[in-house]
Amino acid sequence: MSCSLDLKNVSVANEGVILFENISLHVGHKEKIAIVGANGCGKTTLLEVLAGLREKTSGRLELFHHTIEKKSDYQPFRSMVGYLFQDSNDQFLCPIVKDDIAFSLLARGMQKSMAAKRVAMILEDLHITHLSEKVVYSLSGGEKKLVALAGVLVCEPKLLLLDEPTNALDELMQTRLTQILLELEKSIVVVSHDKDFVKEFSQSIYTVKERSLVRIA
């Protein structure tokens, strides 16, 4: 089976504190996995390592069969990896919702009309068409999350790294999001505290225990 992401004996530290020691993780093609764990155990930090936003201390990280040594090795794969911040305020670049969602597409040189079409489609999918002209900072917490998510999904990345996608969402939106993510034929890594969501969504669940990843389901 081909794989999207492979960690071998990786250690991760944040500000000198070792959070993970010699962990291995394999994310297969179109596989969906979830990571759960206590607050502050380092889930976000791990996800940032996977997204190439932070250096690991040791070990090997393989992405789409290419070994990543430094942050700059990640550059060619940037457009294939989508990342959702835990705090959606961190995700926005443009003040208007539709501009922000379209940004990554336009930055890659897509035609405006094409990008507008894609944005309209994703807004439709997430049932947030009514937000398209609003200012991002005036949205509610849940709306922000959806807009941020739309900005990630619109690029159709091969690997999705989502940091708590369902917090701040209402029940209806949660089930809808689960549906959307399940329908996606992509590799997905999710960090979440939402038990129902995790159970329904993922093929395997890992938990963080004493600086290592343990598979629990």
Partner: protein, 210 residues
């Protein structure tokens, strides 16, 4: 729009005497912003607090004429600027700068610093809310000052964190020194033609007076 007002302010700032012919554009700008007048007035008043210091210091130096000139001149520029741009946000101004082919680095730095300042402003608002919720009352006690200094510490840490998260966000979004918007660049509107016309007439009448 940006160009016109820039020329206008640049021109006024070069003047040593004020002519009535510069007034129309300023008045027109106020008309343009008629729905946001309160906001404009507020900003102009705030701005004048700073100007007053300059004016007073020149007055003390005994130069009444220069003081008046500084006062009128800066107000003219500032009123026109705020009135025209009170509705436009930083993103649009940055886009306009990009269309004018200003250096990319310059535009990005401008927009990103505007964003950072905006984030700090949000932080300030949040902090004020926190103070209210936690039942803080401003007194001239040591405790109050401690809280204030805590806030400045927080602000500094926050600005580091903001810079960090903005950097991460730019990586994720595939930012490459250019800004984009879905909305089309507008045709030159009636109002802009009028502004241009007013600008020309004020120049012409100025030239005629010379």
């Amino acid at each position: 729009m940006l160009v016109i007002v820039c020329i206008y302010s640049f021109f006024i700032s070069l003047q040593t005497t004020i002519f009535v012919s510069f007034l129309p554009l300023c008045l027109f700008s106020l008309y343009y912003a008629k729905y946001n007048l309160a906001q404009v007035v507020k900003r102009v008043l705030l701005f004048n607090i700073f100007i007053i210091f300059v004016v007073i210091s020149t007055l003390i130096a005994g130069n009444l004429e220069l003081a008046l000139l500084v006062f009128i001149r800066s107000n003219l520029i500032f009123i026109t600027l705020t009135a025209f741009f009170c509705k436009t946000d930083m993103f649009q101004i940055a886009l306009a700068m990009q269309i004018l082919r200003l250096p990319r680095v310059f535009v990005s730095v401008f927009y990103l610093s505007a964003k950072a300042i905006f984030l700090l402003k949000m932080e300030l608002k949040r902090f004020i809310k926190t103070l209210k919720v936690r039942g803080f009352q401003a007194k001239t006690s040591l405790f109050s000052y401690q809280i204030y200094s805590n806030f400045f510490g927080l602000l500094i840490i926050k600005s580091f964190q903001n810079a960090n998260s903005i950097q991460k966000m730019l990586l994720i979004k595939g930012f490459n020194d250019r800004l984009f918007s879905l909305s089309e660049t507008k045709q030159i509107s009636m109002q802009e033609w009028l502004t241009l016309l007013l600008l020309c007439t004020s120049f012409l009448s100025y030239g005629a007076l010379l």
